[in-house]
Symmetry: C2
Subunit: 370 residues, 2 copies
Amino acid sequence: MKKEFTVTPWEVKGNIDYNRLIKEFGTSSIDNALLKRIEKHTGNLHYLLRRKIFFSHRDLNWLLDEYEKGNKFFLYTGRAPSSHTHLGHLVPWMFTKWLQDKFKVDLWFQFPDEEKFLFKDNLTLEDTERFTQENMLDVIALGFNPKKTKFLVDTKNADLMYKEAIKVAKKITFSTAKASFGFTDETNLGSIFYTSMQAVPAFLPSILKNKKIPCLIPHAIDQDPHFRVARDVMPKINQYKPASIHCRFLPGLSEGGKMSGSEGHTIFTVDDQKTVSNKIRKYAFSGGRNTLEEHRKKGGNPDIDISYQYLTFFEEDDKKLEKTCNDYKSGKLLSGELKEILIEKLNKFLKQHQKNREKAEKQISKFILK
Amino acid sequence: MKKEFTVTPWEVKGNIDYNRLIKEFGTSSIDNALLKRIEKHTGNLHYLLRRKIFFSHRDLNWLLDEYEKGNKFFLYTGRAPSSHTHLGHLVPWMFTKWLQDKFKVDLWFQFPDEEKFLFKDNLTLEDTERFTQENMLDVIALGFNPKKTKFLVDTKNADLMYKEAIKVAKKITFSTAKASFGFTDETNLGSIFYTSMQAVPAFLPSILKNKKIPCLIPHAIDQDPHFRVARDVMPKINQYKPASIHCRFLPGLSEGGKMSGSEGHTIFTVDDQKTVSNKIRKYAFSGGRNTLEEHRKKGGNPDIDISYQYLTFFEEDDKKLEKTCNDYKSGKLLSGELKEILIEKLNKFLKQHQKNREKAEKQISKFILK
């Protein structure tokens, strides 16, 4: 049976069956008992948890066991710079910020500026350097606490990272890398080595503080192969396996799957209001009916309507969201009107984000690892 | 036909046919015309050149063309720390020092402290760190000019090196690495990546000075596969192919091939006089005859006598060496007496070296790259 979807760190396409991913990747779904356990510490649940957009995890119960014993964890997430930041990137970061605030923990934010250079023929290191700066502004704009957040840039912080990466690399054979990432004899040596660098932030704080500290990695599920390999290696170098919590992908505007910075019809954080409006009006896939009459009678389908799906990622208010859903299903709300609701929501969000982004420029130095 | 010898960066064994190596590796032999051309600049010829211990090269004529046009080169050599320094290591370094003095050029000396860690199961990073310090003392003891010599330590200088290494790594496929180094699916990711780090010092000075500078690498011929791969890559990243000059191996005391720090019967620079004497008396393979009578009559064979071979590497005086050779061949000099000549020579050399080594400790900081 041919698979209808693909999810690797470098390619996401097709109609993704997230339950099947949990089985294939060997992760655990986030059940209500776990949600309650989290809520005990955080007081409330982030809407991305309530809506099961963060749907899967590894070892989160172990992490909370340790936390309850007084063994605080740190957060690790990241961004491989290859384009401007788009809305899809923001999803795990917004959630990570919430975790940082609620658990009062450190965050190590990795910018593996070599990854996309190694995996994409046409991308130069000058490109990835420029986008590293741009992407940093978006991270800072989300309001991370500079006292508790450190940026790791692979090529800049290699004096700390390379020594740790080779400890990981010594424990991974090409055979394992082939099976995990689909490498062939034509893969370049840098791409083959790269996963070792992605493993480093999961234990670098433990090295620097000379004690084992639990790590939680919030990330989109496509990065799981890297951390699966890292988890196999960690006990061999006397470190904890990192725990992780996985989100679904913000779909592409027209094609579903995952929003991608290298494809068209993507909403970037630097897009102006008119551009955002045009992209949504023109490209957002609609779950509405073919005629106005039919739509009023049978209603739209929010499950396949991209504008509605985006609202589940960006509209925090459950009641507003529910009303929109019901109005759409009943036919009261037209596709065009639904698009306008999303446009208003996103443009309001981006206006504030872009203001924060401007101020972020001066703050970068506070986040850079000394 | 089975090959009677093996020469790879990680293994040297058997009776090495150096002329065949030149053909197999595709290097050029150093002929008399080239020796004269070198002498034109240096005034005299180092005994390691006169004796064709440095016997092979790549692009040395191109390097001298550039030099004569006023485009000065820099030197690059190195040591992968895994044990104390032995006499075999000193050979290319002594020659490199001569080149530095004669051409008044910079030397970049690499200590790839990750290499042997990655390639040897039992070696730890603590081991290689310790031997890096020890090996540095031996380099300094040879009298390199601290104003013109920079030490590069891979794990410490990775902030400079990793970014350059990935440019190289992007241009080498696993297929090429397999063919060049005999890697298999069971090779670890760090070992696979490593050759990219060894390529870096060949162009790092060009990056730092933002102009292309020719590079000459004096090294034992077993390292050639690394630089063959590097030479293929350099034009693709807009850098000169490094030139190189290759020496034969100082043979092991008893087994020939190449002196190895991980095998027994090896003379280390830290060995005391008694240890050196004992090792030579006990293990140095003799080209003498079975009985005193036969030796006096037929004479010894210097070509297979390890003590004599060692003198060709360490006795600078051609006349003394020739006399020893003739006396041995005629039967006038006995094997035991030949051993004593070598013992005296080496112990005198090592006594001075060890004095220099003690003073070197305080000088390390002058050589470390800031």
